[in-house]
Structures are given as structure tokens and as C-alpha cells.
């Protein structure tokens, strides 16, 4: 029952993860200071998605937990993405 809970993440992993997240935050801020037009939004959202994945995998332990959690998160994200696509099909082609 407690087999999965015995995995102890070393402290340094969290320091590295925080460093990566702060670096990505700095990149987002710098990129959006430059005028790139529509690319601004795309770049900011891409980096936010990468940051989100890092949080899910390391902070929320999806990388170390049983695969079922990652699968469930994937399914919820797929549902959310489908709703976005359907909504925009409606708005773009009505």
C-alpha cells in the first residue's frame, strides 16, 4: 500500500526545478517586452505550458508516481483541449 510513498525526492532536484522555472519566467518576461506581434502570445503560452509540465512532473510527483495519475491528468487535459477546439470552431466559422 505504501510502496509508492517510499520514494524520497532529493532536495537538490527541487532546487534544479525551481532554477528552471525561474529561468523560464525570466525568458517569458523578456520575450514579451520585445514587440513580436502575435508571436508574443504563442511564445508566452508555449513557455507557460512547459512550466506547467515541469510543475506536474516534479512538484506534483507525476514522474515518480504510478502511471495511472499521469494518464488521468492526460485525459483531463485532452477533454479541456477538445472544448477549446470546439469553442473556437464555433467562433471562427459561425
Amino acid at each position: 500500500m505504501n510502496k509508492e510513498n517510499n520514494h524520497i525526492v532529493p532536495y537538490y532536484v527541487y532546487f534544479v526545478v525551481l532554477g528552471a522555472l525561474l529561468l523560464l519566467t525570466a525568458i517569458t518576461v523578456l520575450i514579451t517586452r520585445v514587440e513580436l506581434g502575435a508571436l508574443n502570445t504563442a511564445a508566452a503560452m508555449l513557455i507557460a505550458t512547459i512550466k506547467g509540465l515541469i510543475v506536474l512532473l516534479y512538484f506534483m510527483h507525476l514522474k515518480f508516481d504510478q502511471k495511472i495519475y499521469a494518464i488521468m491528468v492526460g485525459l483531463v487535459m485532452a477533454v479541456f483541449f477538445a472544448v477549446i477546439v470546439i469553442t473556437f470552431f464555433d467562433y471562427l466559422y459561425r
Binding site: M1, I8, L22, A44, M60, T87
Partner: protein, 196 residues
């Protein structure tokens, strides 16, 4: 006493899924209105202080790290370090809320609040932007307050050895909730403060 850590964790994740879809719905509302009012959203976004937003992002990211580390600490039977890390998380969360308070106060002073006279004159797109800004960051701040209560209980339980190295699922669930709050902010921050 019977204990089911795996069941507890699945329950926490199911709750997190409802939260993701709640905020996800709001993000779609934002996306559609931004698509309909691109110029108003661009100009309104420039009213927000990206420095405050960036500072709060850094604060939340560090607080996510400290609560994640507290799990490792309790697993290594280091109760003292675990408590220090949890208290650090609480302090960072309070600083986040204080920043939010000053940020909102400044907006109110400038006449930007729901259905204010200033907003009425600026048109529909600006009203929508600030409506979404106050509702989404407000709902997020409410989640920070709920997280503070959650972590408060966890600190009490760690003090009284009801969360220990072989019984720490509640702490892990608190961590999951806190990371969710962080995750939502990761998307709120660029959408409101940076993109223009």
C-alpha cells in the same frame, strides 16, 4: 486503523481535476473575449504592473518548492526542517496576498473596479478585461487563502506527530493543492500581465 493512502491521493487528484476545469472554463472565456476585443485587451493589459506580477510569480514558485521539500524532510524523519519549510510556505503565501492587496488598492484608486465610472467610459472590451482580471485573480487569491487554512491544519498535525515519516499523505495532498494554485498562476500571469 484502516488507512488508504492511494485512495486519498486519487480523491485529491479528482478534486484537482474539477479545479482545472473550473479555471479552464474561465481561460476559454478570456480567450474568446480577447479574440473579439483584441485592441481593448491589449491596451487594458498595459495598465497592469508586470513587475508586481513577476514578483508574485517568483514568490509562488519558491513557495511551491518549499512545500515539496517539506515532504522529503518528513520522509527523512526531519520534523524540524519540515516545519520550517511549511512556515516558509505560509509566509510566502501571505506576502503574495499583501502584494495583491496593494496591487488591487492602486487599481481602485485609479478608478478601475467592476462597474466603475472610469471603466464605463472606456468601452465594452476594457470592462470585460477588468471583469475577468478581478474575477480570475480574485478566485485565485481565494484559493491561496484556502491553501493557507489547509497548510495550517498540516502544520498542526506535524507538530502533534499525526503526520509522520510513514503517514504523510495529508501533507502530500496539501502539496498537490498548493502546486495546483501555482499551476493556475503560471497561466494567469502571462495572460494578464505580459501579453500585449
Amino acid at each position: 486503523m484502516h488507512r488508504d493512502d492511494e485512495g486519498s491521493k486519487i480523491g485529491m487528484w479528482l478534486f484537482i481535476f474539477t479545479e482545472i476545469l473550473l479555471f479552464g472554463g474561465l481561460f476559454i472565456v478570456y480567450a474568446v473575449y480577447r479574440y473579439n476585443h483584441p485592441v481593448a485587451f491589449k491596451l487594458a493589459g498595459e495598465e497592469l504592473d508586470w513587475v508586481v506580477g513577476t514578483v508574485n510569480t517568483v514568490i509562488l514558485l519558491i513557495s511551491s518548492m518549499t512545500i515539496a521539500m517539506s515532504i522529503s524532510a518528513i520522509q527523512k524523519k526531519n520534523k524540524k526542517l519540515a516545519l520550517q519549510l511549511l512556515y516558509t510556505t505560509v509566509i510566502l503565501a501571505v506576502i503574495f496576498l499583501v502584494n495583491k492587496y496593494f496591487e488591487w488598492s492602486l487599481k481602485f484608486e485609479h478608478g478601475f473596479y467592476p462597474s466603475s465610472d472610469v471603466l464605463q467610459e472606456l468601452g465594452f472590451g476594457t470592462i470585460l478585461f477588468f471583469g475577468l482580471y478581478f474575477f480570475m485573480t480574485g478566485l485565485h487569491a481565494f484559493h491561496i487563502v484556502a491553501g493557507l487554512v489547509f497548510i495550517g491544519f498540516i502544520i498542526y498535525y506535524v507538530h502533534h506527530d499525526r503526520i509522520t515519516h510513514n503517514n504523510h499523505q495529508l501533507l502530500e495532498n496539501g502539496g498537490l493543492y498548493w502546486h495546483l494554485v501555482d499551476l493556475i498562476w503560471i497561466f494567469l500571469f502571462p495572460l494578464f500581465y505580459l501579453i500585449h
